[in-house]
Symmetry: C2
Subunit: 340 residues, 2 copies
Amino acid sequence: MTFYTMYNKCQRWREYWKVIKMAATLKQISEEAGVSIRTVNRALKEQTGISDVKRQEILEVAARMGYIPNIAARNLRLRKSNFVGIVTGTNENDIFIRKSHDLQQRLEVHGFFPISGLLQTSPEMVRSMLSEWAGMVDTVVLFAWGEWLPEDVLVSLPQQFIFVDCKQIPRNCGFHQIKIDRSSGIKDAILFLLESGRSRIVRSGNIGDRAEGVEKAFRSFRGESAEKILIETGGSEFEDGYNLGKTLMESKADAVFFDTDRMAFGFLKYAWEKGIRVPDDIAVVGFDDDPWGNYSCPSLSTVAHPIAEMNSRIVELSERRSAAPEAIIFPTRFIKRQSV
Amino acid sequence: MTFYTMYNKCQRWREYWKVIKMAATLKQISEEAGVSIRTVNRALKEQTGISDVKRQEILEVAARMGYIPNIAARNLRLRKSNFVGIVTGTNENDIFIRKSHDLQQRLEVHGFFPISGLLQTSPEMVRSMLSEWAGMVDTVVLFAWGEWLPEDVLVSLPQQFIFVDCKQIPRNCGFHQIKIDRSSGIKDAILFLLESGRSRIVRSGNIGDRAEGVEKAFRSFRGESAEKILIETGGSEFEDGYNLGKTLMESKADAVFFDTDRMAFGFLKYAWEKGIRVPDDIAVVGFDDDPWGNYSCPSLSTVAHPIAEMNSRIVELSERRSAAPEAIIFPTRFIKRQSV
DNA sequence: TTGAAAGCGGTACCAA
DNA sequence: TTGGTACCGCTTTCAA
């Protein structure tokens, strides 16, 4: 019988909130049971070197008294922790939420819990926030960063740091870094369009880092000549894509890559309303792999972030706490669906 | 000169990651400075009872050695913590994210940091997760819960618990509870519609708890007779509202309340496309106070969640750690904009 | 003005 | 199979 089985059998108090005050300690249990702390410890940890009779006895006492180990004390003694800090920016959008949610789930599988903090406005505040976590948190994952030198702000803080997809961070900054290569998946997408015979390819949106992948695809394509057209917009939301519909069709494009799935969605709606056939009349690709894309008509081809790979790596780093900083780049990948 | 000013001046190491291993302790500093731990403590805490010379000296040493206080140790000693647990469900939507984000910001203002955990699938797992937080977390805010008796799952855990808007939790369960009264804002909205002369009012959606407010408004209205019509849908997303447009207009309604802002948005789009004038032909009210509603054409009237009130109360409870459980209900409120 | 020392709650080495 | 005890790092009382 494990401790918690016993525990649940024994506990039948009524005024539960009164219990908050008393979290029994090993010492109290040892006194109650008339044994040493060490013996209680052995019993609860299911270690060897203790008679079954004593163990049963102690388990009962512990259960009756409502023992819950104090993790702060344990961590202090073991000089480690099962918490991971996550620093995020204040303007979170869908894709970011999916990323951090996935990370949270993976961390929990490995026995870690995320402590979240918002990126403060000044480096001093960031520093003092991270100091507050000293001793509780061995690893801090930063999803956002300011225009500061990491080495100035973070120097001598007792945690390891992992910068995730922070553009401001220089390559060899001395901290772990996880970068996302947006161009790889975009390149594959455009290449697919080119190779399937599309010749007037539009990229539409206003997000700078999307351009590179398109360039790469055109440079490496060895087929008949194809034209590359850029249609910039003011935003990257549904309605931007929708509103672009007219311009797009007037441009005689036969394929379009949108900087976000939401724009692509907007355009799909436009196409549907106007009787434009996708992908027959025009092929459509988005970016972000929003789950909704599976359910559009036709389902939306897109470029997916390496969420799983990225986050498993973060979990690994949290577990190993390896000293040497590494910079890893994960590629995005093209997902072909009905819209191309 | 405070410690951190000095600190930043002194620190100029190159291989930052090597520093992770060494978080100087009070003892190390006291040895280095040739004073007692207590004196170092006084200097760093800017307490009185220490000569200025010694203070300067110690600050310098501490800065040079890279002192960061260990919060685990501090919390252990002070028997308190500056972390607050937040348990959330796995299917988060917009409004939930806004709520928890707001809470996070408020907590940080008061010196707390959120530790997040996902609601586990079994009560045993929930319990063991919360045990993992013992000693680090004094307060746990639960935004989600299962079909379990709180008193069975949580008994004798050393934290205080705050259930937020969990429908399954009975009124007097012995734990803090924060409930949201959805009917109050809805009632005001419908009443406004009735009083401004609307006589065929549709409620559209499939979310059960929205009905009560509508009922209340009709019951308390003492004007000319008005008709209450329900149009149910399969969902509560943009497209559901959009798709309802036709039915809605055929019903000759002159006002409509949607269960979500997203549905209302969808309908506004329909109306815009069809040349239906809002609010002249039909008044529209949504629910959730999504920020986007400010930017629709016309701007969307809606019912707002009591996010600020709710979360300030949670922060207060976290600070006071008052023993007696309280159950508070916060009303939602009607926000009038152009669409009515 | 300074310092010794007793905790906070667990862990684990070393003796008995 | 047991128990005594020295930590982990910090706070604070009390005495010098």
